[in-house]
């Protein structure tokens, strides 16, 4: 069973797009994360990306950096994140979960150990931000052996020959980074994204998700027709950072994004 493929297949047969939402495991605590995950699914999220906190999240903007910092105040570990998946799976057997994080935390658990444990707890995909294809031999093998998709980034700066190479070693979906920059960037240029994603579509049969810079129905609308899914992260992590009635606010935001693209 591959939940990522099943999800995209079902959406595309309805001519619908995937809403992919991102939060950091353990931000502000693991119980809240689990509640947020369930709430997001209820309000229309199709895939959930769980950030694995790292002391040095080099590709993140301020919003998500703060999410990582809040989570690390409780020393959230990769094992905690795996437990979270297994708890989530008790009530949800269909929504795919993808871990997004940095090489060092995964490696310190052991690549093989991680992939094995992840598969048995019900994780579906893995996106390691600082792992370009050249550095991913071991991860690719172990993930494949355990039926975990390796999702890869393609950037506005990636040239076409490299796009091919990356697509060849990707599974699950392709994550197209819509702006040159870090997470939470503002200046999404949908014309530019359109051209690049079109090129990209010619090189792969995998679904394409667009992320970075999507925070409301306008920005969601501006890219939804270009791809198979959109990713929103910083906007949720900001809501968590604000505190207050987080669940209600997250429910509302998820609903807004879902309504925009469905």
């Amino acid at each position: 069973m591959n939940r990522i493929k099943t999800t995209f297949d079902a959406l595309s047969s309805n001519d619908s797009k995937a809403l992919i939402t991102y939060i950091v495991a353990g931000d502000p605590d693991l119980e809240t994360t689990l509640n947020i995950m369930n709430c997001m699914v209820e309000e229309g999220a199709d895939i959930i990306e769980i950030g694995i906190p790292f002391s040095d999240p080099m590709a993140e903007g301020v919003s998500i950096q703060k999410g990582h910092e809040r989570s690390l105040l409780n020393n959230t570990s990769i094992n905690d994140a795996l437990n979270l998946v297994s708890k989530f799976r008790k009530s949800n057997k269909t929504t795919p979960i993808v871990f997004m994080g940095y090489m060092n935390t995964f490696e310190s658990m052991g690549v093989k150990e991680f992939c094995k444990a992840a598969a048995s707890q019900g994780l579906d995909g893995l996106l390691i931000v600082d792992m370009p294809p050249e550095e991913s031999t071991e991860f690719s093998t172990e993930a494949k052996n355990n039926g975990i998709d390796v999702i890869r980034l393609i950037a506005p700066t990636t040239n076409i020959s490299r796009v091919k190479e990356i697509c060849d070693v990707s599974s699950g979906y392709i994550y197209y980074i819509s702006v040159k920059g870090i997470t939470g960037s503002n200046d999404l240029d949908s014309e530019d994204v359109k051209q690049k994603v079109k090129l990209l579509g010619g090189e792969t049969d995998l679904p394409i998700a667009i992320g970075f810079g999507i925070k409301d129905s306008d920005s969601a609308l501006s890219v939804k027709d270009l791809a198979d899914g959109i990713v929103a992260g910083s906007v949720f992590v900001d809501l968590i950072g604000e505190g207050g009635d987080t669940i209600t606010k997250i429910a509302k935001k998820t609903k807004e994004l879902s309504a925009a693209i469905k």
Binding site: F54, S55, D56, P57, M58, A59, G61, Q65, E69, L72, N75, S77, I78, Y102, M103, N104, T105, F106, E107, S108, M109, V129, D130, M131, P132, E134, E135, R152, L153, I154, A155, P156, T157, T158, N159, R162, I166, I177, K180, G181, I182, S185
Partner: protein, 399 residues
């Protein structure tokens, strides 16, 4: 294969090095490496680089025989490679003089840099000023406090100094922030990394531009000592001054190479910056190397009296030199470094940077165990003016 042919074309020194970055930067690093491979063989570029090293930096830097100190230590003859006499006061300028030419060659308009002690920031601001390019320097708030003199120097040179408040607010966080800037402004911006660290091809580029130090020592040793020195000693933060000295000697196996890491409050306290002595393999800032990290793979806070050594990682070539046994890595703690700082200042009238003082502290231990006919060359990576405030405040003196 001789070690001198490393890194391979993927930037690896054995298992270390490589390029662990988000996809957005891969094409930029490819472009940089392509350009670098061309210019490193380009006669015009090389003659411009060497002319700048001579007329602007003031090279060659002297190899100075520390006569009084040698007598006091009572063993090997101690020679000081005077990188402190370079323009801007440290070895860091060698690299920035080279990289700014590369930046201009690539048509970049804006320079960014990270800095710890501020020496690399000053060296970057200096060459940016000279070439009329914009310059932004990222510096941890903690370091801004303890290196205020260099912050002011950078500002006078026209650079913008951006304080970094995330993480441990030191060099590693400044590097994270510089990377974030680069990802965002990759089209027009050149990132001058200040040590032999970061993703391929930086460790190679920074090493090559600093190798002039060791190349000069080879010649100077023949003239002044009559042969190669027996031991080379240098402090290791990211590792650029050490590798600049070591690299040209790598195939001269009779020359012992010793790097000195910052022992902080002592290795056993965990409050130090000595990943080669007390760290383990991992991935940070685009490279695989030895890191100070906990069991969960989170990078640990480091401690050193010297801002320039206060970094949880180390250049990948050093990790490789350690594993192969070609170089040896030891530690000097804060107190030992301060003692050496004072002794060399008093005995030789040369006030070293606190980073350098770590190397000198090890020489104090090593020289007496060696014979009179043997010799040590230690890299005086920088001068101590920038550290006056730190030393004064340790002594409880307000300036």
């Amino acid at each position: 294969m001789s070690e001198k042919t490393l890194p391979d074309n993927k930037g690896r020194f054995g298992v270390y090095g490589g390029r662990y970055v988000a996809e957005t930067l891969v094409p930029a690093l490819d472009a940089l490496y392509e350009q670098y491979k061309i210019i490193k063989k380009d006669k015009k570029f090389l003659s411009e680089f060497h002319k700048d090293l001579k007329d602007y930096v003031g090279r060659p830097s002297p190899l100075y025989f520390a006569k009084r100190w040698t007598e006091i230590l009572g063993g090997a003859q101690v020679y000081l490679k005077r990188e402190d006499l370079n323009h801007t006061g440290a070895h860091k300028i060698n690299n920035t003089v080279g990289q700014i030419l590369l930046a201009k060659h690539m048509g970049k308009k804006r320079i960014i840099a990270e800095t710890g002690a501020g020496q690399h920031g000053v060296a970057s601001a200096t060459v940016a000023a000279r070439h009329g390019l914009d310059c932004v320097v990222y510096m941890g708030e903690e370091d801004i406090k303890r290196q205020s003199l260099n912050v002011f120097r950078m500002k006078l040179l026209g650079a913008e100094v951006v304080g970094v408040n995330s993480g441990t607010r030191t060099l590693k966080d400044a590097m994270n922030e510089a990377m974030r800037d680069w990802v965002t402004n990759v089209d027009d911006t050149y990132y001058i990394i200040g040590s032999v660290a970061g993703p391929h091809p930086y460790p190679e580029i920074v090493r090559d531009f600093n190798a002039v130090v060791g190349e000069e020592v080879i010649e100077q040793s023949i003239n002044q000592i009559g042969k190669n020195p027996d031991v080379l000693v240098a402090c290791v933060g990211g590792g650029s001054n050490a590798l600049g000295l070591f690299y040209p000697f790598i195939n001269s196996k009779e020359v012992k190479l010793i790097g000195v890491e910052a022992g902080g409050l002592g290795l056993s306290t965990g409050k130090h910056a000595a990943p080669l002595n007390d760290g383990k393999e991992g991935v940070l800032h685009g490279m695989r190397t030895y890191l100070m990290q906990d069991d969960a793979g989170q990078i640990l806070e480091t401690h050193s009296v010297s801002a320039g050594l206060d970094y949880p990682g180390v250049g990948p070539e050093h990790a490789w030199l350690k594993d192969t046994g070609r170089a040896e890595y030891v530690v000097a703690d804060d107190d030992e470094a301060l003692e050496a700082f004072k002794e060399v200042t008093k005995v030789e009238g040369i006030m070293p940077a606190l980073e350098t003082a770590h190397a000198l502290s090890f020489v104090r231990k090593l020289a007496p165990t060696m014979e009179n006919k043997q010799s040590i060359v230690v890299n005086i990576s920088g001068r101590g003016d920038k550290d006056i405030n730190t030393v004064a405040s340790i002594e409880g003196i307000e300036l």
